[in-house]
């Protein structure tokens, strides 16, 4: 049964991907990309990757779609030109596909416990997690503690991308300019006049926020953590902005607060690392944060997950507002 479902999902994935690339209407392409993300999230769940599925569903199907639509609102909704050199490109892609397909025959069998990827370092992490860190979710343990240094790097990549978007879109160069605040007809902003989106949106936002906080603080025990929680909380606020209008969202959470979130999250993560040095351990060694090494690990993981959550929320919302504030001309 699961096999059948897998094959069905994978086939749907290919169909959606082809349709997304084929469609000349970019709005349709973006919507298909959202569906594609949801399908691939279901696939990740079937492949035992609950954390990844949660992230993909929140980021790919939620936030990515909103950002693409924001960009479409500022550019064009249709492709104007037909694809040039179409057959040449297709031939190159077809040849490359054959090469990749040929390579798949040499891959280890699907689900083989003896495959090189399963027998190298992975058993060590699975074995040591209960002993050294003692949190049930191995993914969180590896992400936040064993490989905390990598995750710090990822957080700074996210942070840098956020800064980059703010730089690009806050410049008022050429004939483009920041939109003046809407003082005119308040009722035209957002979906405030549409009954169903308004009721459903208002009902859902608090629950999505609550779920986001649950995912944030329950990340040690179940699927979840800072990345997923940040994406979920940002999605809730974006939903609020779509229903109630951007101005009202900025009244609730001003731009300065979002910048503060971005910076404080990354700083919190870095400071936990430095605190490790001052307490006599290495950078990002949480064992020295408390008297008991295991308690120290737990404290460190909660703190840095909070840092990740703050930065991801701040960056995603700042990017959203940067797109939304740009005027169409």
């Amino acid at each position: 049964m699961t096999v059948l479902f897998s094959v069905f999902l994978l086939t749907l994935l290919v169909i959606t991907a082809i349709a997304a690339v084929q469609s000349r209407n970019l709005f349709v392409s973006v919507m298909l990309l959202g569906i594609f993300s949801l399908l691939i999230a279901a696939n990740f769940l079937l492949l035992d990757a609950a954390d990844v599925a949660l992230t993909e569903a929140a980021v790919g199907a939620g936030i990515s779609t909103v950002l693409f639509l924001g960009a479409l609102a500022l550019t064009f909704e249709r492709e104007h030109r037909p694809t040039p050199h179409r057959w040449l490109s297709l031939a190159v892609v077809f040849a490359a596909t054959l090469v990749v397909l040929y390579a798949t025959f040499d891959k280890p069998k699907f689900g083989d416990p003896g495959a090189p990827v399963q027998v190298h370092v992975a058993p060590w992490y699975i074995e040591k997690t209960p002993e050294v860190i003692d949190v049930p979710n191995i993914v969180t343990a590896v992400l936040a503690s064993f490989r905390g240094y990598d995750t710090l790097g990822e957080v700074f990549v996210v942070f840098t991308a956020g800064i980059g978007v703010l730089f690009l879109l806050s410049a008022s160069h050429g004939h483009a300019a920041q939109r003046r605040p809407d003082n005119g007809d308040e009722s035209k902003i957002g979906l405030r006049n549409d009954l169903i989106p308004r009721v459903v949106g208002r009902l859902l936002v608090p629950f999505i926020l609550l779920f986001g906080l649950y995912v944030q603080f329950h990340g040690d025990y179940g699927p979840g953590g800072g990345f997923q929680a940040g994406a979920l909380i940002a999605a809730a606020v974006i939903l609020f902005a779509l229903v109630e209008g951007e101005e009202r969202t900025l009244e609730a959470i001003p731009r300065g607060a979002l910048l503060a979130l971005m910076v404080s999250g990354a700083l919190l993560y870095g400071l936990v690392g430095v605190a490790g040095i001052f307490l006599g351990g290495e950078f990002l060694n949480y064992s020295v944060l408390a008297d008991d090494p295991i308690a120290g690990q737990h404290l460190g993981i909660i703190l840095i997950e909070a840092g990740v959550g703050l930065t991801v929320t701040g960056v995603l919302l700042s990017i959203f507002h940067a797109f939304a504030a740009r005027d169409r001309f």
Binding site: S37, D48, A50, T55, E79, F110, V139, V158
Partner: protein, 118 residues
């Protein structure tokens, strides 16, 4: 089971190449970014597929587990962070596309090149 494994890898290859086609052949910059997202997702699928152990479960310890078999947590950690980094870079790309539209009035690559040549 064996056929399913090959099928996973084939879907990976096809998705990768659909994304690749959009990046090389399409002239619309938003379409190129959509292709890039598809390409990325295909790589994510490959990693997660490789981490699967048959009969395994999600790598989370539960109280009443006796000798659990877990799927490999390491690719999952890698891809989890890659997804969030991916959306940040996509957002940066979209920001650049919006600025190009504002300066050139178009987001079709060949039209941009024509304007540059003038």
């Amino acid at each position: 089971m064996e056929l399913l494994g090959i099928y996973h890898y084939w879907v990976f290859a096809v998705l990768l190449m659909i994304g690749f086609y959009a990046v090389v052949a399409k002239v619309n910059l938003v379409k190129k970014l959509i292709g890039l997202s598809l390409f990325q997702s295909a790589v994510f699928l490959l990693y997660i597929t490789m981490g699967k152990v048959s009969g395994g479960t999600a790598p989370i310890f539960l109280k009443d587990m006796i000798d659990p078999v877990f799927s490999n947590p390491l690719p999952q950690v890698l891809i989890l962070t890659a997804i969030v980094v991916g959306i940040s870079t996509t957002a940066l790309g979209l920001g650049i596309v919006v600025r190009i539209k504002e300066e050139y009035g178009t987001i079709e690559e060949n039209e941009i090149q024509e304007i540059d040549r003038r």
